[in-house]
Symmetry: C2
Subunit: 300 residues, 2 copies
């Protein structure tokens, strides 16, 4: 399973970065291969200053070895070995009419002293962070997520949609980071789902990513925008930074366990603003977005 999934994310990284380069038409992904001293490594691909993508990363990693102390505490185990691999992506488009998107698909195995698998699970999801809210875009993204989920279990979409809203929440601002999508974790073998079933589900979601996001990019990439709208995007990107640095378990985990900093923090937006006590005008498009972030909606 680990080889199969690791191969899958390598191919998916190729598929996604090729497609994004075509869409961008100008910038190419810069690739960095890195090794983890304790075992494994990754292939980071970053795009910057494109026609469409101001900054983005589509990264894979596969790491293994002794479970670090901090992770032992987190999982409540001792002296285990582990393998973890995943693909993480964040795209920050230049045009404020195009949403930022984040996705992640990952697989984890833990072993006892004899090298026998004692636990294994999938996790991941994909979610959208618009600066201006186009309801048809939100519906398209969520419908694509739902269609992928429904092929496996009609309960998955409603369940993982709510988890996504709960997870990507800036509690200190009382608002969601974005308009959500899917978030799932600890997807383990059960009566209903074998690990192969979970593999089929997670790869279904992975395969749906371009279908969920690309039509939105194509529709909005030539939209006009003003300096004021661009400022609003940069202010909202500040909330993205706040979530990732204050609340996101994956980011904090990476920062505190000596992960490759540049690969972890590639998720941070290129240009960001913090304005004291900024509030959108009543009745404005900016306020309409905030209202939805304060009260997550059902899009399909």
């Amino acid at each position: 399973m680990k080889d199969k999934f690791f191969n899958y994310i390598q191919e998916l990284q190729n598929t996604i970065t090729s497609k994004l380069e075509v869409i961008d038409g100008k910038a190419k992904f810069q690739e960095d291969l890195w090794k983890r001293p304790e075992g494994g490594g990754g292939r980071t691909r970053v795009i910057e200053n494109g026609n469409v993508f101001e900054k983005g990363g589509v990264n894979i990693s596969g790491v293994h070895g002794k479970l670090p102390n901090s992770m032992q505490q987190y999982f409540g185990v001792k002296d285990a070995d582990f393998f973890a691999c995943g693909l993480s992506l964040v795209l920050h488009p230049k045009n404020p009419m195009i949403p930022t998107v984040h996705a992640n698909w990952r697989y984890f195995e833990m072993y006892d002293q004899n090298g026998t698998i004692v636990d294994q699970w999938f996790g991941g999801g994909q979610d959208l962070t618009p600066y201006y809210l186009f309801e048809e875009d939100a519906k398209h993204f969520h419908l694509t997520c739902k269609t992928a989920c429904d092929k496996h279990n009609p309960e998955f979409y409603p369940k993982y949609k709510v988890r996504c809203d709960e997870y990507f929440y800036n509690s200190h601002r009382n608002e969601s980071r974005g308009i959500g999508g899917l978030f799932f974790d600890y997807c383990k073998k059960s009566e209903d789902m074998s690990m192969q079933n979970w593999y089929d589900f997670v790869t279904e979601v992975g395969n749906s990513f371009l279908e969920a996001y690309v039509p939105i990019v194509e529709k909005r990439k030539n939209s006009n925008y003003t300096k004021t709208q661009r400022n609003w995007q940069e202010i909202r990107r500040g909330r993205y930074v706040e979530f990732n640095l204050v609340h996101d378990k994956g980011t904090l985990f990476g920062l505190k366990t000596n992960g490759r900093i540049e690969s972890i923090l590639m998720s941070l937006p290129p240009h960001v603003q913090w304005v004291y006590d900024h509030h959108p005008e009543p009745g404005s498009e900016e306020e309409k977005l905030i209202k939805v972030l304060q009260q997550p909606k059902n899009w399909v």
Copy 2:
């Protein structure tokens, strides 16, 4: 003591904001009074888009009531009442040749069920975050800190200088946030120091702030700078954000205990950049700064 120190920081806020407005010559501090539902409140003063100061805040607060659960755990006590007051300031100048400065002076009291003081202490400090390193500025700032300390105890400056280097450290980057200054906490009654002695020391440091910082601002405020130098400043500001959101106990504490978000996050810089895997040119002024941040120096 609490009334005396609260009066002191109110006057100090007036002194500092008046002086900074004169230096800026354009922008004025905008004042927001706020109340804490559980007791107390604050006076936030923010300056934005000035000639000299791109963004800054000089805030005081005095809060009291039941010690919140999170603080009970932190201090290892149960069901106590508390009073806390302090002045916090952060100034982000526009010109990258002027350093960002941060300072904080605070006083804390804890009470038993009869309202008797069971614990009380002072804390605080002031530290400098340059974008370009002028050794004479670093020396001036540290010498002013040392002079204030030495009037009270010759051991204070070396001790609190090292604590400052240790505290304002971005462990995930293996570098200091800036070139330090002073940091002290839990300054409690001892054989050598009464609370009045600590009051005298903390107010001495508070009174030294303008002397430590203003001459540097005056010397650098008309320096020319390039777009590249400005970009460097914005990239380094990203590290400032990383420290405040990932490591700073005060900020995280505020965010997780329902503090006034806009007063807490006024510390974040106005315009910030994150560039993937950015490294300064070998031998450049930018690299010279990084080397000092990786290996704190003695300035006096």
